[in-house]
Symmetry: C2
Subunit: 252 residues, 2 copies
DNA sequence: CCTGGTCAGTACGCTACCGTACAGTGTCCT
DNA sequence: AGGACACTGTACGGTAGCGTACTGACCAGG
């Protein structure tokens, strides 16, 4: 499960890390481990002190809010565009559960190493802060989306977001699990998924889903997909474009 | 609308500020203005660069996500327990609209003064960071709540949260506006509110609502009220209990 | 005093879901 | 091959809340 990491190649790692100058990236990652996260692995629970921070590579992590009756609802998705478990204060916690949605690989570092790295590398800190800001936006959009958009719209959005993050057209996910993410019944997911399949946008069988027509899915999905994507994309581009003056500029 | 502030008395100001030692608080507030925010005043729009930060005193600010079709949904409420518009990076923005829900007073300072204050005063920075962490939790809880809880539950939660923040039993709010916050029709709000009124928990007429029975409302409201309240309360208590000795990570 | 505007009450058909439940089908294990 | 299991398809009654719309009450201003 564990393997040592030496060098991350640009383009096949985590976008936040890849946005850093190579030397800084390797320095920051000197204490990180690469590991595989199986489906349904729980990284942390609500209120639990954060001990590790994860940079997804091709794994997809869902942040979900568990309710008293056992129901859970996804409030955000994190993949290689972000980082899971940013502790804003040492010893801090988050109010959500982090769970691997689609199995894959991730880099892990301790919360204290992470905080030390943000203190030491200003660009890294800025990236992380911008990501946190975008992350809040994602959760806010999800809050509105969960209230007002239909099952089919949200399912399409979810599929697109996961597709962006896993990097392949086929991945494992069951209707049951999708229902938990969307806060809907399994049968409702089956219905919506059936419509998407009949329209030729996806294909699935026994827990394996294939994305056939992204453009079609985007047409069905609610605006929230584009809003969230644009917001997350800006994390990297804005940091590159407008580095803080009193810090080391990114492109020197 | 503007009046100079000299000294904030403990207990009648903003809880984040009141948690600071008096000298620090006065220093931080030296460039702040006290101002009244009328109902429906918009503090900022999604994506707009944050130029000012607001510390509510008795005003209640709603953070809402506007959707393409014009609908809006509340994703968080901020009162004297928090702060509106924390810029995590200079020149940053938030993905939500901030709008005064119940009229009242607030302290305002520029984003740059705010950032300077967090850099200068470690306790202040820790308070703000803890608040941001709790704020994210609030939005996450709202995302789940919006999906799964009934109109009546959410209305009760909303009334309790506002009641906590305005500090009086009677305040102005219309069904129409409530509907926007809850992401429901005005008529649905009228129905739920009628039930609460019939049960003797509230009274209202022409936009003035009176809280009659808090305990009763808490029984009707979903768990989310308590979860969010506990999370926000911890911002102050945890900071008091475990202030940072310096900026180095806790367990090194 | 009348008028126009804001606000709440109510109604009626409609739809997108829910809860539950059972049957079918593919897959893996023995 | 047979059985156990996991996953999907489908059904059926129930309901919360929608869209629309009309009514009446209260209020401020001319």
């Amino acid at each position: 499960m564990l393997s040592s990491i030496t060098t991350q190649r640009n383009g096949h790692g985590n976008q936040l890390l890849d946005a850093l100058p190579r030397a800084q990236r390797e320095r920051i990652l000197s204490n990180a481990q690469r590991l595989r996260l199986g489906v349904r692995t729980v990284l942390f629970e609500p209120g639990q002190t954060i001990s590790n921070v994860y940079f997804p590579l091709d794994v997809v992590i869902s942040l979900v809010t568990p309710l008293q009756d056992g129901a859970i609802v996804e409030v955000a998705t994190v993949g290689n565009e972000g980082v899971v478990g940013v502790p804003l204060v040492p010893g801090g916690s988050l109010a959500v559960r982090a769970i691997a949605q689609v199995a894959g690989h991730s880099l892990r570092m301790s919360a204290s190493d992470f905080l030390a790295a943000t203190n030491e590398h200003d660009i890294f800190e800025e990236l992380v802060r911008r990501y946190v800001q975008a992350f809040v936006g994602q959760v806010a959009q999800a809050a509105a989306c969960n209230r007002l958009h239909s099952n089919e719209e949200r399912l399409s959005r979810w599929l697109l977001m996961s597709h962006d993050r896993v990097g392949v057209d086929e991945f494992a996910i069951t209707h049951e699990f999708l229902g938990q993410m969307l806060g809907s019944r399994r049968a409702t997911v089956t219905l919506s998924a059936g419509i998407l399949q009949a329209a030729g946008l996806i294909r699935y069988q026994r827990g394996e889903i294939t994305i056939l027509d992204r453009a079609g899915l985007e047409a069905v999905a609610c605006e929230c997909y584009g809003v969230i994507k644009a917001e997350l994309d800006q994390v990297i581009t804005r940091t590159r474009e407008a580095p803080l003056d009193d810090r080391t500029p990114a492109h020197v």
